[in-house]
Structure formats: C-alpha cells, structure tokens
Symmetry: C2
Subunit: 385 residues, 2 copies
C-alpha cells in the first residue's frame, strides 16, 4: 500500500526530533533503479519554500535517486539561510547514500517562517538511511513521518501487467493544491522515459490533486514527485500508465478530503455548461471556498441561494435566468428560480453533491471540498501551524 510497493524502492520514516511531540518527522525514500527517471510539480504560490526552489532545480535534470521529506517545519520564508539548509540536507543525504546532491529532492512541511533544527535533521537522515527497507512497514513509516495535522497516513497503490504504482500524500489544511498538494510522493517500477513520466504526472495531478480545495490556501510547499525505478522491466502504454497513475492520485485525494481539518461533510461540486473547462473550475472553486456555502453544508442546510451567490461572484460568464442547481439529487433551482422544495434535499449524511448547470457552453469541472465547522476554527485558531 505504499511507495515501497513497486520494485526498486526502499523507504524509512523516523523521529528525528524536529517535532516537539517526538512523533516521526523525517522520511527518506531511495530509488535503487535501474532507472532514476523522475518528474515533479510544485506550488504556484509566489512565496515558495526553500525545498521547492531546490527540488525544482533538481527536477530539471529529470533524475532523482532519493527524496528526503520532513514535517515539523516548512522551511518557507527563511531566506538564503533556509535555502542553504535545504542544500546541506541534500548534501548530507548524498554523502550517506553515495549519490550526488543534485540527485536528491527535498520536501518540507510545517510552520512557515522558522528555520529547521539542522543538527537533528541530519542525524535523522543518518538514522533513516540505516533503516531503509522495501517492506510495507517501511512504506507506512515513510507515510507517517510527513504527517502534520493529518490524523491518518494516506497511502495508495495499484498495479497491472507486472508493474505497480505506489504513493503517499499528506495535507489537511492550507490545502488547495495548485499544481500539487502539500506533499505527495509517487513511485513506480514501470519503464518510462522522462517525457512520459512528466506528461503522465501533469495529466494525473490536474485531474486529481488540483481539484481538491479544502480552504483555498495553496501552500508555499506543495510538491508532488514521481520516481520511476523501471525495476519491473515492463514499459507500459502511455495512456494506460496515465490512467493508473490518475487512479492512485484520486485515491490519495479522497483520503486527503476525508481527513481535512474539522471535516464533517465530504462535498463534491460539479459545474457543467460553462464556456470553458477553466471557467467551470473557477465557478466550482468559488462555491468550494465560500464560507456561507461551507457553513450551510456544516449545518446540513440545502441553502442553494448561497450557491447561486457564490457562482455569481466567479469570473465565469452565464445568464442567471438559465441557472440550474441540484443538491443531493434534488433540483432546487431551475432557470434561476426555486424549483423543488429545498427541504427535500436531505444533507444529514456525510456526502453532499452540488451540481450546477450554467447552460453557457460545454465546459465542466468537479471540485472536492469540505464544510466549515467549529473544529476547523478550533484547530486553526488554537495554535500556530
């Protein structure tokens, strides 16, 4: 169920002492090859963490031998010194593993604006290197050591025709991935070249991670990496690989949604009939990010007027006299006015679907989000994260 499922990968997750809690906080994943093909996508936030700046450079080579990930500190807004910390981390991993620093991707997650405790981190790397293993337990350790406000680790895997894809992800708040989610590492033993890996990753991420929007907060550290060992010896069809990679990513995204901060509802918002897919996405995100819609979801209230208000604020063209809104299968708004009694839409369960038809074109998009609950407010006001 993890990054160690495909052949050619070893992983470890240890408690390096970066987190005060003493929980696991450092993950090391090594690609033993024979291939070292890699692709990555990174946050579009203009404020980028040091590990994002570093790993973007590494990924330009299209090759990664190892990835080191820490929780307990984002290493964002830490200036040249923070970048130097990331560089030193890669250098240390490289020397321990006998590879080049430019072959080591680095990811961090946690509080923005604080330097990392480098002594503990490098010692943790050494410890993790000694525990590298291809077992499922090692994969689970790796998935656990990247958790912050996550309450459960998120892992997924799928395989066909002799090759396999595995992966983990983390992220519960500040989570509106744009190019990527907070942190996710995917592995495969399929034989791919860099162009194939890159194209598959971008397509899969666009269809999955980029449709998740918990709170509109695209983080400074969002990263998704795909490492290919080629150890299966099998070269899949590109479409087949992309489809399976999308399946694994969707699995992870659903786990992220289910474990979002303060979540009590899993909300799926689909907008159809926009002028373009992009306008449909913007309209769906406008609903997903609107606090009046989100509190109505929390209150199990099929208040479709708030959905109409939110869609009307999106940069999306439509004629309000054609607006249809369906909530949990009940057509509550037809041609811009009340239709079925909204109280027929029973939102007392955990799953809510909102379908909007703008009748302005063929554009379509679906966004996954959550409600805005007291627990979200509590979790995000009670301490710095």
């Amino acid at each position: 169920m993890s990054v160690t499922a495909p052949k050619g990968f070893r992983a470890a997750g240890v408690a390096a002492g970066i987190k005060d809690s003493g929980n696991k906080d450092l993950t090391l994943v090594v690609n033993d090859g024979p291939l070292d093909v890699a692709a990555g996508v990174f946050t579009r936030n203009k404020v980028k963490a040091a590990p994002v700046l570093w790993s973007r450079q590494v990924l330009q080579t299209g090759r990664v031998r190892a990835a080191v990930l820490n929780s307990g500190g984002a290493n964002a807004c830490t200036g040249p010194e923070g970048f130097q910390d990331t560089h030193a981390t890669a250098e240390h991993v490289a020397s321990v593993l006998g590879v080049g620093a430019v072959e080591v991707a680095v990811c961090s997650t946690g509080l923005i604006g604080a330097r990392l405790p480098m002594d503990r981190l490098t010692e943790g790397v050494t410890t993790a290197a000694g525990r590298l293993d291809s077992s499922a337990e090692a994969g689970l350790d790796a998935a656990e050591a990247v958790m912050t406000t996550d309450t459960v680790p998120k892992q997924a895997q799928a395989g066909t025709n002799g090759w396999t894809i595995g992966g983990f992800a983390k992220g519960a708040g500040m989570c509106a991935p744009n190019m990527a989610t907070m942190l996710s590492l995917l592995t495969t033993d399929a034989v791919l070249d860099q162009a194939q890996a890159d194209a598959a990753l971008r397509q899969a991420v666009d269809a999955t991670f980029n449709t998740l929007d918990i709170d509109g907060g695209t983080s400074t550290n969002d990263t998704v990496l795909l490492l290919c060992s080629g150890a299966s010896g099998t070269a899949p069809d590109q479409d087949e690989f992309t489809a399976l990679l999308t399946t694994v990513c969707r699995d992870l995204v659903e786990q992220l949604q289910a474990d979002a901060e303060g979540v009590t509802k899993h909300v799926t918002i689909t907008v159809r009939g926009a002028a373009t897919d992009h306008e449909a996405l913007l309209a769906a995100k406008a609903v997903a990010e609107d606090n009046l819609c989100k509190t109505a979801f929390f209150g199990s209230d099929p208040n479709w007027g708030r959905v109409a208000m939110a869609v009307g604020n999106a940069p999306t063209d439509f004629d309000q006299s054609k607006l249809d809104i369906t909530i949990n299968g009940v057509e509550v708004c037809l041609a811009g006015t009340a239709a079925e009694d909204r109280h027929k839409a029973d939102l007392s369960g955990k799953d809510i679907t909102v379908e909007v038809d703008l009748h302005a074109g063929d554009g379509k998009a679906t966004v996954l989000t959550t409600d805005l609950s007291h627990s979200y407010v509590e979790e995000n006001s009670a301490y710095s994260s």
Copy 2:
C-alpha cells in the same frame, strides 16, 4: 443621525409582517425636493436580485422621489415573477405617494430564492406612508427596518456650511461589497446635479464600502443610493461634497465591520508597494478572505506565515525576498524572512493591523475585515439566511 437629518426628507420604518419575528421589516424614504437628483451603485455579482434590476433602470433617469426597502426576503433568484413583485411594489408606492413608479427605487434583503409576501408588503407600504416623518425617530425606524442579522442599526451624518449628509446601512454577513454593500441609503440637502451626485457617490463608495470584506461573499442585492433634495439651497464645491460623503460612508462601513457576524476582532489590512493600487487591493483581499489568516486572528496568533501564503496566492506580482510584514506595529517578517519575534505582537485586544510591503511599486490599498470565529460558523450554519 440619519437619512432624515438633511432637509427635504421624510422616512418611516414599520413591521409589515414579512419577517416571521414580527420585527420591523419595511422602510420608506421620501425626497420632498425641491430636487430629486439621485445616484446609485449596485452589486457586480452576476446573479442580481429583482430589486437591483429594477433600481438600476430607475437610476438611469438620475431621479428618485422615493425608496422602499424591505428585509425578510432578498427577492433574488425569483425569476420574472420576482421582478413583477418589485415592479408592483414600486407601482403601489407611486400610487400612495402620487408619484411615478419609475421614480421609486426598490431594495430587498434576506433569504435568496423565496418570493415576497406581496399582500403584507403592500399593506406595509400604505402603513409606512401614513407615518412618514422628518424626525430622528423616523430615521431610526427606517434604519432598523432593513436589519437582518445585524444586531444594531447603523446610521451616520455630517454637515457643513448649511448642508447635511445623512445615511444608514445594513449588512453583517455575505458582505464583501463590490460597488456597494448590502444596502445603504444616503440623503443630502445639498444642491447637486446628477453628474456631481454620481461622481461623488462612486468615489466615496470605492474608498469605503468597497474596502470592506467580511467573508468574500458579494451579495446578490448590494445597493447604495444617494438621494439629493437640494432643500438647503446651497451648492457645495464638488471636492468638499465628495470628502464629506466619504466621511459618512466610512462611518457606516466601520459600523458594519463592528457588527459583522461572529466578529471578535476588527482587522485592518494595508498592502503597500504593489505594482498598482488594484493589485494592492487584490492582495489585501486575499488576506482578508483567507480562513487560515482569519482563524489566526481569532486565536490572537501573529502567524505571519499564513499572511505570506495568502499574499503569495493573490494575482499580484512581487519578489518574495523583499516581502515585509508588520503586525500591530511589530515587524515580524523582513525581506521575506522572520525578523522580530512574532510573539512580541500582542493581538489580545480587539484591533489588529496587518501591514504588508511588497516593494514592487507605489500601489496601496487598505481593506477592513474581521476574524473567523465559532460564532460566525454557528450563525451561518444554524439557520438559512
């Protein structure tokens, strides 16, 4: 302290039975002249309420003799029938007052998607017409009858050189005015022509109502109207009038911020050094609308990393290595990295100021917002509004 302060205006606020609570819910304001000059600004939401569609047409004539406003129902997403209700309301006001329907502006606020109880509403208009008065008490009644989740009426007035401006406003949630806030009516006895009134209103609203952002939810009903009676006989200088109108509007906006749903903090966000004023406004709004920033404000937590994340997500160009953030006077982030200890920024009081300098130009904007508290969630999830 109200719309009846300038000479030439009478007002009334009555309980017409539109609200189940039995509270006042219908306001009538009449301009007795000699002038009937008027200007109005309306929501930019693509979903516009019937009274907005009606009043936009009325305001194209530049003349308004009376305004009727109701709470207890927004008359939005009500289709052609809802527009007919608004038209019938204007016709009834016109017949009772002996003016033309096209001289009557209509505003509504309340739940989106429900028709108004027209029998009660028209009866309420007749009652209100019988109670029209130029007293401060009548002005207060008028301000009270537009309240929805507002806990206090909001009134303001200012005068100089023999002429006066008065006004009221309502709005506590679904409040991110774009052209106007939920509902505000301003009156003056200054002598102005339509072009002067229009220019002054647009300038004042841009500098005040449009800088308030409680929850990003630009409503379907936002309207600000300015009615000029000219009864003072004094024609002010344009700049002088605009300045005083801006003062009155700012007073109302500060009252809206203070009474926002669930508010525990009054937050002022200033962004300097953007490429343009517009980019500065977008960056300030990105912070104002970000739930991670808003929950941190609620928790009195000077978590500037969340401010950096939010600004980085705005469509605003800047170099993260030049980003400065000051919270309550403490420079917590300098040149993109931690500066003063953030715990020196004491946010335990009610007022929080966030100053961001992007060092990318001369653009500047200030936005007023609030925190995201348990009360906001409670108020917006507990019942439909």
